[in-house]
Point group: C2
Chain length 431, copies 2
């Protein structure tokens, strides 16, 4: 019987590991609780009506259907038994492994305030994205009908919490929606009067980027009408808005739409693994891995992607798509080397650079020693993102959307969907 | 002050009425409870994973944003007051009109068995389509993991109730999904072994079509592996399947997925209008209209599209997209003529023909005296549908999807979304 590799999670880490093993003499089972691979870097474009969910998601079975050694299993993993080497599923099923790759990623975290989740949705799933899309579009719709100027102002105030790449991209897209996309759509309100706030706790936006690019991103956001608040932390969120604290000063911002792009917490599978194997976790629940991405005492369990915690040259390896892809490929290569009886060099993350887009013609890029912003960075961002889209069909669809919308300032997928109905508040409807 | 036209419903009838009035000296308010116009004839393609919701939906504000005399209002109409000439909204708002156009369409109807709705979703909204998509894809996923052959067979049995155009299109698409799209995707099951039943109460499929085309459609369906059951009625539906009655014989079909494409009932606004104005309704709740589409005693209230009931040359005008478009244009022309003091000829429906597609290269067409099927009918179907898609952007996206998927046998948008999670049954999850 050939070596059984079980991969949990079909994100960048898990999918790249499976694909790298395509010619290996192993029996792969890829388990995911969703039936598709999601291209998360473009999820904010679904949340802001530029793309449709299907365009950034690819069915895992389809992506892997030509790979004879691979089976895809739709299921939720609820435990790992390192003794008998089995993975447990929510429906009671057990999947035995010889090598296990855990790649279940991360979810958002509200810094000990789970009650904020209902007021400030985060952006990790397709459902999160369509929920945010509904909230944003609905705020403009309700403002159009509102006669009380204070309420209308709160409806037209959008707060994005977290000034990392996701927060910057969301705030930039909100700026474009209000200035360009909806420009001619309303009769009673002027969408361009929307107030968009981007809140970042540290002293500048995009903290991991070079300071020059943080400033460039901030200037681009200000051009789009976004009000940036670096050095401010959110101390409270409710249905009416947020409380910000900058130094000793607390201010209340009345806002009906708050979006969360701040805290991240590793998938709960880390905790389950720690309970069973004694492996240590970091502050946000990520699993501390050895130089070969295995966990202490269990060389047959590899942890990759956002679920893994590893330092390199004194700095943590960032939880971004390229590091997940590289870890996935490394894990696959490690398994093949072990099967041949060879040893493997430690994993090394190759930082290809960072890219964040703010809006049309506006992006920032740090690629090795090159730090640049503006049109060229934006073209680079487009090129790189199209390159990594998994399905060829989606690549063409997205390229067409972007080209068409660039010239027309349109965003064709701005649908209000879900269980909301007019006359109900959003909170009523979701209960 | 100019003449106030209130249009309720942004489907084909309401949207075409608003657009036809674009240069009229009137003040238009278009009210819809959704923020988009939905191209319903392609909804089954969303339900079967070929297209994404955003590709068949166009934001009403966007479609009408260049039309200065028109205001779009997101709201749910809960009443009509013919005395003061006001429309009532769910949130308590009131919208006064001089002429009212009601175009709220129809929903599905379970022939007095509302409890069937949970087991057999119908196909009228985007949410219906994504729900059906989830059920169909999940049935294959669950079958892949099922070891009991009887349960597996029930999971791989799909019943479509209703052999009109929607039922035929759904059943044909299910045939293609199981034979082509998913062909290489599973390891334990062969999707081509799925049993797809199409149930029709009358003696042949597509009852309003010429008998020759009914036979052609049936042959095409059989080629795709669909088992057609004309002359059978459904007498019971539950979580385990359906009971069919043909003549005196009752048979139980074990099926985990049942889709409803049978009964249609007019929007409840018809009933509200009847209570206020005494207008009569037909058996399925449609409003009986006069020769000029107004209602008896209220020339200022026009009812169009699927909500209207009118005979022409002894036959009812069918509830299809072309009749709604023609009624919308007629209503607009009538208003303009009245404002000029002219009288209008009665509405006449011009039957441009009927088209239904079964699958790739397979369709049936009845256009005037021409009745044809096969490749040419299929090309005609594609051409006509692309022509009537409202947004140019969506037209290109859909054309690309169709062309690409034609050659690759793919359906790129087959996502399992919503609140379902593995380990729960679908019924648990939706509660």
């Amino acid at each position: 019987m050939s070596h059984r590799v079980v991969i949990v999670g079909g994100g960048f880490g898990g999918l790249y590991a499976a694909q790298e093993l395509r010619r290996a003499n192993v029996e792969i089972t890829l388990i995911d609780r969703r039936n598709f691979h999601l291209f998360q870097p473009l999820l904010y474009q679904v949340a802001t009506g530029a793309l449709s969910p299907g365009e950034i998601a690819s069915p895992l079975r389809y992506v892997l259907n030509g790979q004879k050694n691979t089976k895809v299993l739709l299921g939720e993993v609820t435990g790992v038994e390192p003794g008998p080497r089995e993975v447990l599923l929510a429906d009671g099923g057990r999947v035995p492994y010889d090598t296990l790759i855990l790649a279940t990623g991360a979810t958002h975290d509200y810094f000990g305030h789970p009650e904020w989740a209902q007021y400030a949705p985060g952006l990790k799933t397709i459902e999160d994205a369509t929920e945010i899309r509904t909230r944003v579009l609905l705020a403009f719709e309700q403002a159009e009908r509102e006669t009380d100027p204070a309420v209308r102002r709160a409806l037209l105030t959008f707060v994005v919490v977290g000034g990392g790449p996701t927060g910057v991209e969301l705030a930039g897209a909100l700026g474009e929606i209000s200035r360009d996309t909806l420009r001619k759509d309303f009769r009673s309100i002027n969408p361009a009067e929307a107030n968009i706030f981007l809140i970042e706790g540290s002293s500048r936006l995009l903290p991991p980027y070079p300071p020059k690019l943080s400033s460039a991103a901030e200037r681009s956001l200000i051009d789009l009408g976004v009000q940036t608040r670096a050095g401010s932390v959110v101390t409270h969120i409710d249905a009416d808005g947020v409380v910000l604290k900058a130094g000793e000063t607390e201010t209340r911002l009345a806002a009906r739409t708050v979006l969360w792009a701040a805290g991240v917490h590793a998938s709960p599978l880390g905790q389950l693994l720690a309970a069973r194997t004694g492996v240590s976790l970091d502050r946000v629940g990520r699993v501390k891995v050895e130089a070969d991405l295995s966990i202490a005492g269990h060389p047959e369990i590899l942890v990759i992607g956002d679920l893994a915690c590893r330092e390199q040259d004194g700095k943590p390896i960032p939880g971004v798509a390229p590091s997940a892809m590289q870890m996935g490929r490394y894990a696959a290569a490690l398994i093949m080397k072990r099967l041949r009886g060879e040893s493997a060099a430690p994993f090394r993350y190759w930082d290809k650079g960072s890219l964040a887009t703010i809006g049309r013609n506006r992006a920032v890029a740090a690629i090795g020693p090159l730090h640049f912003s503006g049109y060229l960075a934006w073209l680079t961002w487009i090129f790189v993102h199209l390159l990594f889209i998994v399905e060829f069909e989606n690549r063409i669809l997205i390229a067409f959307h972007w080209a068409y919308d660039y010239f027309t300032f349109n965003r064709g997928a701005r649908l209000i969907t879900g269980h909301w109905r007019p006359g109900k508040s959003l909170t009523d409807a979701s209960s």
